[in-house]
Symmetry: none
Subunit: 220 residues, 2 copies
């Protein structure tokens, strides 16, 4: 399945869950979806073609694209993919403790690899670059805990993080200023690791993730 189609289906599922999209309701115009998903219209249309062939939507020139009745079943029956809120909850549960553990048992090589990721994030100016280094940094810290089972669980988490919803949400809430802020928090965490200070590492990671969560989901 194409990535764009996946994104579209995710969008519909999300909308169906929060009531934005109901059977028969009109979904955004192709040109609006272009901006929203940041992909060319041809890709949007290709995805809509298959959705139409699958009977999920029906299109009318001059009117728009609409969800069919059948779509609800396909949407409801779909396995609910993980929401960003769930992901952040799990990260907040896991990563602070991981940071504390890493502060205790990280090797010099681990710290160097972590340092590279930190530097990479500080040097990136665009969203894509920073996001990539950010993921690598958090993974490198987990890896420094030297626990294979932990890495398996981290991969489950990262799989969820690769879902389209997560990407669009992050892109929407990202900004140069926020990235700078994140980088400072990253720096604090890495310094705590270098100082072999588990409490500071744990506290720093918790502060960082709470900040990310607030920015991503809105302060509660």
């Amino acid at each position: 399945m194409e990535t764009v189609e996946r994104s579209l289906r995710a969008l519909l599922t999300e909308g169906a869950q929060d009531g934005t999209f109901r059977p028969g309701s009109k979904l955004p115009t192709e040109r609006a979806l272009v901006e929203r998903l940041a992909v060319p219209r041809s890709a949007i249309r290709r995805a809509l073609d298959t959705l139409e062939r699958d009977g999920v939507v029906i299109r009318h020139v001059g009117r728009g694209t609409f969800l069919t009745e059948a779509a609800v079943q396909q949407v409801d029956g779909a396995p609910a993919d993980t929401s960003p809120a769930e992901i952040m909850q799990v990260r907040l549960l896991l990563e602070p403790g991981v940071a504390a553990l890493a502060a205790r048992v990280a090797t010099q090589a681990d710290l160097e690899r972590i340092g590279e990721c930190l530097a990479g994030g500080g040097a990136s100016e665009d969203f894509e670059g920073f996001e990539s280094w950010d993921a690598r940094l958090h993974r490198a810290i987990a890896s420094a805990a030297h626990n294979g089972l932990l890495m398996n669980m981290f991969d489950v988490l990262n799989t969820a993080r690769a879902l389209p919803v997560w990407g669009t949400l992050k892109r929407r809430t990202s900004s140069p200023e926020r990235r700078r802020c994140y980088h400072e928090e990253h720096t604090e965490i890495v310094e705590a690791l270098r100082d072999r200070d588990p409490e500071s590492a744990e506290a720093g990671m918790r502060r960082h993730l709470e900040n990310v969560s607030d920015n991503l989901l809105g302060r509660h």
Copy 2:
């Protein structure tokens, strides 16, 4: 194996782990890889040829090169054997926070299900029965946190717990007296959940798991 191919595989593994590359996702163009790996295109193409022959990638003129589904298995299929120490480390990292979360958001139905597991454990006299109820209790508490991703990660943990090493170790260190002790600790945790007391639930779970860890692995 060629060095270029090794570099490419490393790139893919890393990308698959931090979520950059997923099954079906497009990887950099050959010309981009030339710059990234600083090797001639002929070498890139030679490496991609073998990757394609191995079924790791599929190529389309004018579209690009894409990861296949099979590629993921090759990448994350590494069944790292997990030691009981690793398992207990992860449990200590995760479950206290889960208990605190469950204390906040558990429904009455959750608490009833948890209560059944607790009662089952209290009524079991033999190792097998207690062990089964114990696993169910911990899982029920996690389930009360109402986070699907968390349950996925718990399943990873339980998979590791199903390894033979774990079973023999637990059987060797189990005794009626210890089971009674665990049951008391379980009771404290469940009472904290019923009282909606996150701090007590977290502390109780931590104490319990530290106790289990000490019994299992020997006091450090």
